[in-house]
Symmetry: C2
Subunit: 314 residues, 2 copies
């Protein structure tokens, strides 16, 4: 039996981003934001809030911070538009909600939460998701909320780079790594329930209608009270082909590994099968925190078993 | 090592459909169609075609047959429109392609195949997928190709039933079961490669933009040469929450079960975790065929290790 009376929380702000982290000022902004959001999550958990409520709160705060590629800070696609994906999952009963390719929604994670709780579906996309948002009373947010000067400059750079990208080794390319932004949160509450949330603006200059792993249950997000809660960030297609969240959960269930062992074994599988690029954060049913990555950096933070909050970049 | 020199193929045409199968004439039409399409698949496999080519061919033929809820026979959504989902996966390297909520595409499985082979993405949806179809030279098919009198009558019936559906036990409702149409194909070729394909029109009267399990790698479709190829049909949300394809594959990989044992264990998991409704067809790396279901019927057929073709309804 899992012991209760303590809580754990992990959040991430994307993999890659070597270039940004080389600047001490930017690194410090990431550090402060991760720390602040962990402490918000702690308040929810300490006051008896559920894991689900905690990951929804943390993901919302990460979406609101323009530092991260989700919600407000979402990158622009090939048409210069913001199209966002998000999903949330409740480890108590495997209920889940996801949205993909939504525009003008300030907090896609909250829309995904509504899909989970107010519809009979798991996934709603594009215009259908916006129609549902309207039914839920979620208002559309104007374009200028999303279009920051940084994101416009970044798209212009990506369009230029597209012409020369074939000369690069993608894995080592810092520009490429820069594209893999996502945010996520996984938590275990005081009563041992698990939940996970993931949200993203996708890849800079991505094709219209491209859906990555973030809104795919089992790939970018997974939570099962029997095993663990997982959120992934990286090259979405690698995660979609290997279902990394489900793989780590299955390694716990079928091989009786703990969360730390299953995360390591999951990353081995990810490398062996598809030379996967990215990282994961995992809280297991006992509140153990772990992270695994194949990129050089993973912006993340954690509170393990009610201890002090920690921030890490690798 | 898996033995070579023989091939296996399974196809399905949906779960549920009790009402239709009670009519001997309709049952006979299903039987003939399944048999005919299996024999087409055999020709591809006997002439040395790949598993991938075989599942693409069989899924295309199933889409073309208005008997089945995919391609031409797709059901209508709440707006009286056809919105289709499809995915294909190659067990050699886990490459995959998927499309969701596409309209006016005669063969969504072929568009999914193009996403796999000609884009760097796994999943393209809605208008973005149609834009890609255009780039690939896939022409749009007019509405009247899809809108058969049967499908229009069925939508009217579903709209009427919606008012009374709460009085029904969903699992036992034949009307409800009728909604779970999907088509799928899984194959092992002469050299031991595996592939899977799944395609659907979704659920009658479904919400606009609702995506089910069919285009989700790991849920409605999965193939890995190390384990097995899986296609699912049923209540999509149940499969999305449990990732049944990936579960069966992981049971083979992590518990060293064979395909028959893993299918049975996967169905147990599906029932235990979400009281799942639906069925799966599985060909394992050795060419063993199996099927599992929690509904009363599963329209399917198989050729095991180059033997004669068989058709089953349960």
């Amino acid at each position: 039996m899992a012991e209760n009376g303590h809580y754990s929380l992990m959040i991430h702000g994307g993999a890659g981003m070597l270039e940004s982290l080389k600047d001490p000022k930017t690194a410090s902004r990431y550090r402060q934001s991760i720390h602040r959001i962990l402490e918000h999550g702690r308040e929810v958990l300490e006051s008896g809030g559920s894991a689900l409520q905690t990951v929804a709160t943390c993901a919302t705060l990460l979406e609101d911070d323009p530092l991260f590629n989700a919600g407000r800070g979402s990158v622009l696609n090939e048409l210069g538009k913001v199209e966002m994906d998000a999903a949330i999952m409740d480890g108590r009963d495997l209920s889940a909600g996801a949205v993909a390719a939504v525009q003008n929604i300030a907090n896609p994670i909250q829309l995904a939460h509504q899909v989970m709780s107010k519809s009979e579906h798991v996934m709603l996309i594009a215009e259908g998701a916006l129609r549902f948002a309207d039914q839920c009373g979620i208002e559309q947010t104007p374009d200028n909320y999303f279009y920051t000067p940084e994101r416009i400059a970044q798209l212009e750079q990506a369009r230029l780079n597209d012409k020369i990208v074939l000369d690069h080794d993608e894995t080592d390319s810092e520009d490429e790594a820069q594209k893999y932004g996502t945010i996520g949160a996984v938590a275990r509450d005081l009563t041992g329930n698990l939940a996970a949330a993931t949200s993203t603006g996708g890849m800079v200059n991505k094709s219209m209608g491209r859906v990555g792993d973030s809104p795919i249950v089992g790939a970018g997000v997974y939570a099962d009270n029997e095993t663990c809660a997982v959120s992934a960030t990286g090259y979405g297609e690698d995660f979609m082909r290997t279902l990394i969240g489900k793989t780590i959960s299955d390694l716990m269930l079928m091989k009786t590994l703990d969360g730390v062992q299953a995360t390591a074994a999951g990353i081995d599988y990810f490398k062996r099968k598809v030379q996967g690029r990215g990282g994961v954060i995992v809280v297991d049913k006992n509140g153990q925190c772990s992270r695994g990555l194949t990129t050089k950096k993973l912006i993340h933070g954690w509170i393990e078993k009610s201890a002090e909050s920690m921030v890490g970049f690798d």
